[in-house]
Symmetry: C2
Subunit: 238 residues, 2 copies
DNA sequence: AACTGTTTGTTCGATTATAGAACACAATTG
DNA sequence: CAATTGTGTTCTATAATCGAACAAACAGTT
């Protein structure tokens, strides 16, 4: 009987893996869960879940409402603060500028295996359009302009070697010599996106992107603004 | 030799606690760390740190740069997405409105033991003033307008019973019947803040606040805008 | 109302799997 | 070459697990 037989991840330390799994389940569930529900979702005994939860609670990674139900805690926000902190601080003013001049939601997404994760978002001042991207939201790397832009930072050869599982989208090659990626109706119906690659030394490949319903500007102009902003961000990060 | 003798937290599951501790250290360190540095900071053997880090890496809670140094990973952003998600989504448009009409940075902070943690922030469009609050930043509950506002949601008696360790600030009583809290030079020299309490059903007590260098408006007017916004947020969350 | 059955939160102790330390070797970097 | 780091061993003490048991809240029934 190998260790970690039942768990999805075959990580060396089971308890840590389970604790993280609990947080993932909680983040995914849009509502507070009882301990029994969470133990069930984790596939462990209630007592096991209970002990894990208490540890997480000690670190404020998890809080409990009046009914005893558990939900993600403020400690997670503190930990997330450190994620690409340099990139976040450098990108924020540029995102604000982009959002307001283009009247589009602007955001930075970073590459994470077969997904890309939205890090920071800024909505335009006159937010007639609803927010479509939230920090922490994920999309497949193969769907949407940000993912294509990230792919386009690599030649096809290198990409294939780097991540064998994920095909290199043909649009990436196109985006590579054009300098930006565009998508329509891919992630969210009716929503389009334009993105440019963003490379920071020592950090994951990322993308600078905007989303919009109907473009008031020429895509090339938008892309030019994005490229300019990306250049400034990269320059600031040395 | 009792278990968990050396660790700060006496949590039931040591490994999970250490894994979280590693993330906390990484979030606090403003730069990537080598495994040896991190193991040293954790006070454990390198091999121990190594196994923990590999587990964290499996979940994208931690990534490694080219030199093998570790830093917080995108998975944390995903987990943090779930923290008071309802509050975040409900507050965001109101924060944008406040930031732009008052030309101040607006944010929501939630109570976490002896601290309050900034959740969402929105900077004004013309961000002449630098960002002073970032999501995930923490301050003592006893310092600054947000903390006082959170205290002011409770009568002094109840507060003392709730958190024996932390004194009830006299300003909280004042803020309680005035409806808002104000602070100057407390957290950051030269920066002032105005905050109102924010209560959401099933969630932690929180505060809606703005920070500014020099106020162009009357504090009472600012507070009125905050109160209005808080009322709308609370109404939306039912 | 009292009684009973059910569900949930919590605790406890014995068993066993698991983490931890030390060692060794490869791969790097200066 | 030396020093640091990545990676894998092995073995034993320890910490996590499991299951059961206790406590408390709640619903239904007589």
């Amino acid at each position: 009987m190998t260790p970690n037989a039942g768990t999805a991840q075959a990580s060396p330390s089971q308890t840590l893996s389970r604790g993280i799994r609990a947080l993932e389940i909680l983040a995914e569930a849009q509502q507070p869960l009882t301990i029994a529900e969470l133990a069930d979702a984790m596939g462990v005994h209630r007592s096991v879940a209970y002990r894990i939860l208490r540890t997480l609670e000690d670190h404020s990674l998890l809080v409990r409402d009046d009914g005893g139900r558990v939900q993600p805690g403020p400690g997670l926000a503190v930990l997330a603060r450190g994620v690409s902190r340099n990139l976040q601080t450098a990108a924020l003013p540029e995102l604000t500028l982009l959002a307001n001049t283009l009247t589009m939601s602007a955001f930075v997404a970073v590459w994470d295996r077969e997904e890309c994760v939205t890090l920071v978002t800024v909505d335009p001042r006159h937010s007639g359009a609803a927010v479509v991207q939230h920090p922490g939201s994920r999309h497949p790397i193969s769907a949407g302009a940000p993912g294509i832009a990230i792919q386009s930072a690599f030649p096809e050869q290198e990409w294939r070697a780097l991540v064998p599982g994920i095909p290199y989208r043909s649009e990436a090659a196109e985006a590579r010599h054009r300098g930006y990626a565009a998508s329509h109706d891919e992630v969210i119906p009716g929503v389009s996106s334009i993105a440019v690659p963003l490379r920071v030394p020592g950090g994951r490949p990322a993308a600078l992107a905007v989303v919009y319903i109907r473009a008031a500007q020429d895509p090339d102009e938008v892309a030019a603004a994005l490229t300019e902003a990306a250049r400034r961000i990269e320059a600031q990060l040395g």
